[in-house]
Symmetry: C2
DNA sequence: CTGAAAGCGCTTACAG
DNA sequence: CTGAAAGCGCTTACAG
């Protein structure tokens, strides 16, 4: 069954002429041995190529020095960047970090969460991205040592680390009104998610403060993906009076919107202004470079791990922390046209950039 | 130490009035019990909320039903997409997949590889991205059940899954010569890597067959990142006769080149044609949409997991498999200008697209 | 200070 | 067919 050749602590003890207990204690630094004895152990370890079996250690200690990160979609650039930063910080603190891709399925999240029970991991960073039907909160409250990252699981007893959603959405919306827009649309992810509620809430608030009503036709909730962005734009395009600007609640949505604009011959920002949220890698190279609210994935990953490690070690935990955001202005926003792009149609030949000639 | 409340197989046995052996065998499907007995066990499991301790099982069985993926940089979009696809396939085959981010450090790769030794994982998919100094090949040959994905570790005894690097590079290069270019540069990752050797090899071969020499000034090896792309472009820009086209061996390099072009006012493809490799998410939305060699991350992930699971189960393994690639033509390539962009300078006002006005 | 022994929660020859 | 017992490789009270 087992690798036949792997040597054990018992082999080392025998070779060094001491007890298993002594070897274990010495290797774990819980004891100070005469130089001569410790040297015998060292050389036995070397000769036998002894490496402690982590599984056995966990089984008896109940700790693994490993933490887990459950992510709804590792191929989403922001999440991948957070995972990368988290791994780096975990490593700095002496932990391994393993990443689980849940594909946003509750069943997978639950299964991974169970790894806390048998000490496969000491704790878990949970980045869920769907509304909870109750199973998640129950499980989280059963296992301890979970921290909620990026999105909430309402009712869970756990530390939380979220972006400053309200602040960021406020900045984005204000930028649009400052550029003279009043027909402003909101495109968001799943409506029940914290990020949606907070970002849409701030969007509404800024508009109201500016004395502009939010038009129900200009509000679209979907998933945080390109498809939803495309769908939203297509729906707006059927309106008699389409919006002159869109605040997209995530960069993937913005990418879908951009795709839709290409298909329909809508120029950004000349016909339609666009501001987004996340600032994932390389959106500065898009056509046009995207104006968006920056979230620091590095800070997100680092602080999340810090919180979890503190939690695992039994520290008193803050209830909820926020990571700061900032608006980075690039070139996807301008003042609104006099005429709607809808009515203006495609009679914009002179403005068509040469790089689009082939479309 | 341990969670005080977790119930064990012994509790279940006691509650059901049978032996631990019987419970274990029944739960593992190795025995057929009278309906009445099996019902007693079922209800005991339910009442006690018994969940087998995976660690203990592994320790005694020596298998974990988990496989690992070591990736050099999870924030690289192609790798993240491969990881995502791999998780899906592993799940389909009844395995968990855990992902390790090695940040391309040999020490981390070695540490993760060791998890095979103590049955934390049954096998590992290794995506390294640096030349091996010998440590890796030794470790791989010591543990079995490793498959090499995307890049090679020369000398390792292991199944391999690579892209059709030569075919893809040939397509890309041919596309450039077909568009009339002869002053073609190559920008690659680390020279010692398989991907570099194979792609550069095909690049040379296609050019030679077309009767054009490869100019040593037009060859640049760096890392597979934006910085290297930028550096390469800046170096080419110092040349008296710069290239009219570049084959970048990876999309991240192309992104760096695009950044450099913006800084220097070089228009792509008018001044400089660019073709790349990978076809990561959203490069169709760049300015200009990138012509690049497509690799299917989904196929990569799926086949890699299939190979590993077969390997773990002791199947005869093929030596090396390839995933097919194809050129996707977008808009970053055109015929070369009559005059070099270097000498043409910036007197290109009429061609400047409006979306660049703010640069 | 050291070590023999029990225990972590499973699986599985082996004996009945 | 069933179960008592040994074993997987560690850690750690406990006794000397």
């Amino acid at each position: 069954m087992k690798k036949p050749t792997a040597s054990t602590i018992r082999n080392v003890a025998h070779a060094a002429g001491v007890s298993v207990t002594t070897v274990s204690r010495h290797l774990n630094g819980r004891i100070k041995l005469p130089a001569e004895t410790s040297e015998r152990i060292r050389s036995a370890v070397a000769k036998l190529e002894y490496r402690p079996n982590a599984l056995a250690r966990r089984l008896s200690k109940g700790r693994s020095e490993t933490i887990g990160l459950i992510v709804s979609d590792i191929s989403y650039p922001l999440f991948a960047a957070i995972a990368s930063a988290a791994e780096e910080e975990a490593s700095r603190l002496g932990y391994s970090l393993v990443t689980f891709n849940s594909r946003n399925m509750a069943a997978k999240e639950l299964a991974f969460l169970s790894r806390i029970d048998d000490a496969q991991v000491d704790g878990i960073l949970l980045m869920t991205n769907h509304p909870d039907d109750g199973a998640l909160v129950e499980k989280i409250n059963a296992c301890s040592n979970v921290v909620l990252v990026d999105e909430d699981v309402p009712g869970a007893i756990a530390p939380r680390l979220f972006a400053d959603n309200r602040g960021g959405a406020g900045l984005a919306t204000a930028h649009l009104v400052e550029n003279g827009h009043t027909a402003i649309a909101f495109v968001g992810g799943p409506q029940a998610l914290l990020s949606s509620k907070e970002r849409f809430g701030a969007f509404e608030e800024v508009l109201n403060n500016a004395g502009v009503d939010v038009n129900p036709d200009f509000v679209f909730f979907g998933e945080y993906d390109e498809e939803s962005g495309l769908l939203a734009l297509q729906r707006f395009a059927t309106l008699d009076n389409p919006p002159t600007a869109i605040f997209a609640s995530g960069d993937m949505l913005a990418l879908g919107i951009l795709q839709g604009c290409r298909k329909l011959g809508i120029l950004v920002p000349a016909d339609l202004s666009l501001v987004s949220f996340d600032d994932i890698r390389n959106v500065d190279l898009l056509d046009p470079p995207l104006t968006t609210v920056h979230q620091s994935a590095a800070e997100f990953g680092r602080r999340a791990v810090g919180l979890l490690v503190d939690h695992v070690n039994g520290a008193d935990m803050p209830d909820i922390e926020r990571v700061a955001v900032e608006l980075v202005v690039r070139q996807s926003v301008s003042a609104p046209r006099k005429t709607h792009w809808k009515s203006a149609g495609n009679a914009l030949g002179t403005q068509q950039p040469p790089s689009r000639a082939g479309l």
